[in-house]
């Protein structure tokens, strides 16, 4: 066999069948996808120190964001709660990034309603607290007072913002929304007053009365011009007078144990209203 090397060099070369090729490719692709997913989601030893730091930072940001969202959305996060400052911070940011004055007014109103919701929750807690925990009671009362004061301040801020809106129609629409919010606020204040009566907290009752007076007698104006139309004004004046009288009678009567005469209460509330009127 002289041509041995030729025979050896011409030995047949087979090809991998199409079926086997596809089978192997499928297995390779599957492995590649698994490896990619593993790199994405598994915190393994191959991660460098920098990557580990990055992942830890991302986890912290995620936890912080979730806590902020919870704090912002939840009514149960009230003054005294550990994440309450986070809630206030998010609200502050919301207020600062408001794209225009109308949005800013809406943010003020939303905050006011929230403060009153919180105050209702706190009042409920306050009324159910036993006398033995007097310190807790005082702290809760202080927080309720703070919340009501913030609502009164926001009311003033809304009034000024509407006055400076720069467009009568926009101002009118903003005033309408503010009035809607005022109705909700008024309801919350009533609830707070009820709980204050239960817990015999005259200081809060007094504060609620003042806030009710301010809200019910709020006159929204644009560059000095009253934004209420005449009919609405008449109607609301009538309702407000009645409501004011009822509220004053109820709250003062409860606060003073029903000892004061109705006329005296009316006089006081009128004086109070004149002082608080912006």
């Amino acid at each position: 066999m002289d041509n041995l090397e030729k025979i050896l060099n011409n030995l047949p070369k087979n090809k991998l069948s199409r079926r086997a090729d596809l089978k192997i490719r499928f297995q390779l692709y599957r492995l590649m996808v698994f490896a990619y997913l593993k790199r994405l989601f598994v915190f393994n030893h191959e991660l460098s120190f920098l990557n580990k730091g990055l992942v830890a930072a991302m986890v912290l940001v995620l936890i912080f964001s979730a806590t902020s969202i919870f704090a912002y959305a939840s009514d149960s996060v009230v003054p005294g709660n550990i994440i309450y400052p986070l809630k206030k911070a998010v609200e502050k940011i919301e207020q600062n990034i408001a794209p225009n004055k109308t949005a800013k007014i809406a943010a003020y109103e939303k905050q006011s309603v929230r403060r009153l919701e919180e105050a209702v929750n706190l009042s409920q807690k306050n009324s159910s607290t036993t006398p033995a925990t007097k310190n807790v009671k005082t702290s809760v009362s202080n927080n309720i007072e703070k919340n009501i004061s913030e609502v009164v301040n926001n009311q003033q801020a809304v009034l000024e913002s509407i006055n400076k809106l720069g467009d009568y129609q926009k101002a009118s629409a903003a005033a309408l929304q503010a009035k809607e919010a005022d109705k909700a606020k008024s309801e919350y204040l009533d609830k707070i007053a009820e709980y204050a009566e239960l817990s015999e907290d005259n200081q809060i009752l007094e504060l609620v009365n003042q806030a009710q007076n301010i809200i019910n007698n709020q006159k929204y104006k644009y560059q000095g011009e009253d934004l209420d139309d005449e009919e609405e004004k008449d109607e609301s004046d009538g309702k407000q007078d009645n409501n004011q009288d009822d509220n004053r009678d109820n709250h003062r009567g409860r606060a003073n144990g029903g000892d004061q005469e109705d006329n005296e209460a009316d006089k006081r509330s009128n004086n109070s209203y004149n002082k608080e009127k912006p």
């Binding site: 066999m1 041995l4 025979i7 030995l11 087979n14 090809k15 069948s17 390779l28 492995l31």
Partner: protein, 165 residues
């Protein structure tokens, strides 16, 4: 920019048939078994691809993996050679002198299969897998000169055996 995985697929396309042939000639031309072993080798290679040095020749690397895998297969199967049952079907009819050439090729392969493991391996690396001396030296962890000498000796042994037939 091509990723390392894209590179691996390019290597797979380039060497899939060569590795299949490597196994085919070493498992008695059992195509199904050769396909399975080829698949296992490429999966093994993909898993270890992160450790592959790009400056190294991929061919030497993949043949080294295939060689070790084949040794493991022999250990599992409990034998180092296989009967050439499918040899007749494997060698195709190519030209007018088909019968004579086919017969000669069958004889050569049968004699190679009966040779000592070291001679058999080196002849297959050189003539079936068409590896150069450097690559064979890398796979078998030997000097290039030693491989060159051994190929020459094994070829001479094969020639002598064929003369006796």
């Amino acid at each position: 920019m091509a990723t390392k995985q894209d590179n691996f697929l390019a290597y797979y396309n380039q060497f899939k048939d060569k590795i299949f042939n490597y196994f085919l000639y070493r498992v008695g031309f059992d195509k199904a078994l050769a396909e399975d072993l080829t698949s296992e080798v490429f999966i093994k290679a993909l898993k270890a691809f992160a450790s592959f040095d790009e400056n190294q020749k991929f061919q030497s690397w993949i043949y080294a993996i295939a060689h070790n895998h084949l040794i493991n297969h022999y250990v599992r199967a409990g034998r180092t050679t296989v009967p050439l049952e499918e040899l007749e079907d494997f060698i195709p009819d190519t030209n007018n002198n088909q019968f004579e050439e086919k017969y000669e090729a069958e004889q050569v392969l049968q004699v190679i299969d009966e040779m000592a493991a070291s001679d058999r391996d080196i002849l297959r690396f050189r003539f079936v897998d068409e590896l150069d001396y450097r690559e064979i030296a890398d796979i078998l962890c030997k000097e290039e000169g030693a491989v060159r000498t051994q190929v020459s000796r094994s070829l001479e042994k094969l020639r002598q055996k064929l003369k006796k037939i």
